[in-house]
Every structure is written in structure tokens, then in C-alpha cells.
């Protein structure tokens, strides 16, 4: 918590009264929102739900990487299977 306050003071130049008005949620979701290597804010990614193409692709990619298979090929097959269905 101290490190978080220090970051808000030092990096974001907030005053103590300004920090006092923040909730934990604001600090976490806004000031400590995930960023990429360049420091740009990453968009919020919604977890893919079972029964969707995105979910199957994610699962297939994970399995393909673990098995040392060609990820692109596995991905193509999953897309084909979805197209046929």
C-alpha cells in the first residue's frame, strides 16, 4: 500500500488530499491499469466464454504450444471446424 501511495505521489503527482479521495478500485482500475511496453493503456479484454470460437481458439493455442504442435495449423483447423458447423 505504501508503495502504491508513493507511486501516486511520485509518478502521477497527486497530492495527499487527492489520494485521500480515491477508492481502492479507482487506484487499481485507473492508475494501475495494465499497460504495454510503451506505457500505453491496454484495452480491457473480456474473458472468452465456453461455446465461442474465441474460447476454442484460446484452448487450442494453449494445447498446441504445450504439445509443440504448429499453432497456426491448429488454429486454422479450429476455424474450419467452426465454419463447417
Amino acid at each position: 500500500m505504501r508503495a502504491m501511495y508513493a507511486t501516486l505521489l511520485n509518478h502521477y503527482h497527486l497530492t495527499l488530499p487527492e489520494i485521500g479521495r480515491l477508492t481502492d478500485r479507482q487506484i487499481s482500475d485507473l492508475y494501475f491499469h495494465p499497460r504495454d511496453e510503451a506505457g500505453a493503456i491496454k484495452p480491457v479484454e473480456k474473458e472468452p466464454q465456453p461455446g465461442t470460437l474465441e474460447f476454442d481458439l484460446r484452448e487450442a493455442r494453449t494445447v498446441a504450444r504445450e504439445m509443440g504442435a504448429d499453432v497456426d495449423e491448429v488454429e486454422r483447423r479450429v476455424r474450419d471446424a467452426w465454419t463447417k458447423n
Partner: protein, 147 residues
Amino acid sequence: MGVLNECLAKPHVFEHKGRKYKVSLVNQKIKLQYEQAMFARAKEAAIVMKELMSGDDYRAHLKQLNDDYLIGAYGMDSERGLQTLKSTWGGITLIALLFGVDNHEAVQLLTERKDDVTALLQVILHESFPAMEEGAEKKVEETGTHQ
């Protein structure tokens, strides 16, 4: 209510008997006030117990109290803080701080509008603390622990 309100931390308005209460979210200031209220209560308890203790025991007790405060054991999100939040005193104190009233008025509000105050408190806690995984809120209610 929603994402924008969570971002802006705008106070809710609660109307009762013609009076409008601005109800704060649980911000760092409220958390600090809760911590101070907990510590003040511990000091009051120590004073009450003074005559039941020897001088050495009393000094040791005060030192322990001081040490605990310095390491953050009275923080709202500490183990002790979360335990007190489940107590009647903790609930009333939190409502009093959020509504900007004294504990007496908080009890009155709870007595007269229990369901509304409880529902608002749930919204406020949701808006004040980082999003929890699906189902975690139910677990918090069951166990009283806030991961």
C-alpha cells in the same frame, strides 16, 4: 451507477425523512477514519481495563497497542479490520462515516431503513474495491474475507 460512477467516485444520495445524505464511497480518507476509530476504541478499552491490570501489565498492553497500530493492524483491510467490519460496532461505524453522521444517527438510519441502507452499502463496497472474480463476492459474504 456503473463504470463511470466507479471511476468518478461520486457520492450517492440517500433521502430519509426529507433529509438528503451524501453517502461517500470507501475512499482512503474513510479507511483512515475507520482505522482511527478502531484505535480510539482500543484505547478506551485499555483505560477501562487499567484497574484490572498491574502497572507492568498495563504498560505492556499499551506498548502492544502502539506496536499494533504502527504495523497497520488497525487498518480497515487488515485481518482485525475485516473482523470488526462484521461486528455491529464496525457496521455502524462504517455507515456513520459514509453517511457523514454520528453513530447514534447511523443506528437510527439502520433501524428505520435497514434494507435500503444494506443494499446501498453493498453497492458502495462493490464500487469501492477492485473487481473480484465471479462468485468471489458470495464467498466474501460467507467467510467475511476480502481477498
